[in-house]
Symmetry: C2
Subunit: 207 residues, 2 copies
């Protein structure tokens, strides 16, 4: 939580506290301004509007997460399958725990992806870049095989979409979701066609 001492950060910090305590809708610009010992009007010298403060918070938080994902994607001593596993699972766990410990996060996510549709796209694209890098290296090592890496990354994201939208989880617990993600990942990696049973066996034994 180390804050740089800029005014922008002070505002973001104050808004972060208000948003997570009372929610986005129930927080007024006047309150945030007062927390920063300034007038409401002055906030607009630093942010275009209330939503931009929320977006700044989300961006900051998400960037940390992205860094984490990048590390997982290039973790040494793990094969492509394990790294893909770690990547997809981290994604799921982060979303799950974020909503579990702070129900207000759901409101923020909803508002932002409603009013700033490009934001969700931007997140997907960032993760796709990581995925592409992972697939690229995996192919060079002969672990995966595919025609078009960009397209394949897009398809992996499409196939794991369910685990990115809490609205689709209908009260499923984290263990159940993890079991499902495990299954989907297995399908993606191994496919349905009969082939190299020994490889499948080896993968299972390695767990």
């Amino acid at each position: 939580m180390a804050e740089k001492d800029t005014v922008k950060d002070q505002i973001v910090d104050a808004a972060k506290k208000r948003f997570s305590h009372f929610g986005y809708a129930k927080t007024t610009m006047a309150e945030v301004a007062s927390d920063c010992a300034m007038s409401p009007g002055n906030l607009y010298r630093f942010f275009q509007g209330k939503l931009d403060i929320a977006e700044a918070i989300a961006t900051e938080d998400y960037s940390r997460h992205l860094e984490h994902l990048r590390k997982l994607a290039v973790a040494p001593g793990k094969d492509a399958r394990q790294r893909l596993h770690d990547l997809l699972f981290e994604e799921l766990r982060r979303t799950y725990h974020k909503l579990e410990k702070d129900p207000r996060a759901y409101e923020m996510a909803r508002v932002i992806s409603q009013e700033r549709p490009t934001f969700a796209n931007w997140m997907l694209e960032n993760e796709r870049k990581i995925l592409i890098a992972l697939l690229d290296e995996a192919e060079r090592r002969g672990e995966f095989k595919m025609d078009d890496k960009e397209f394949t990354a897009e398809m992996v994201q499409a196939a794991t979409m369910k685990f990115r939208y809490p609205q689709l989880w209908s009260k499923l617990t984290l263990p159940k979701l993890e079991r499902e993600l495990e299954g989907v990942m297995n399908l993606i990696v191994m496919g349905l066609c009969p082939h190299m049973t020994e490889m499948r066996r080896a993968a299972e034994a390695a767990e």
Copy 2:
């Protein structure tokens, strides 16, 4: 549209017309009753409530669709991959066209899956049964290979979830959705592991 001459069917028929013309919310029980030349109260001898009429309409419509799917799943002269393809694509196309030609359908779907959460589950289970039968036969013929058919069917559904929820389509056109579904299906069938390149080639050549 051949109606059995029962009172229930008459009510369903009248409601179907009203719902698709004016929407679920803007249709009153009094109107439906009047269309059937009966009093509002009498509707309740045949249905527990307004929502149950909507559910009856949806069930009737969906049952026809299910029959169609069952036929596709056992179509002769096609291999498992093609039958799976037909099954998943028919699902997507039906949803897409239904919403395209009748925006009221969206309201109905939303209301029903909101107020009757088990209904969506019931649909998924029905389709899963078809999927299991398809996978079962495919395995017997040596076309697919898997450990647990029930679980695999569940995973196929999880991986194709995106194509069942129009809310996740964000203005994608049908061709784009089809291209994505094609890609996801390829991933599911072929997997990422390098294997039998000739099989992949053959599948592509066959299109």
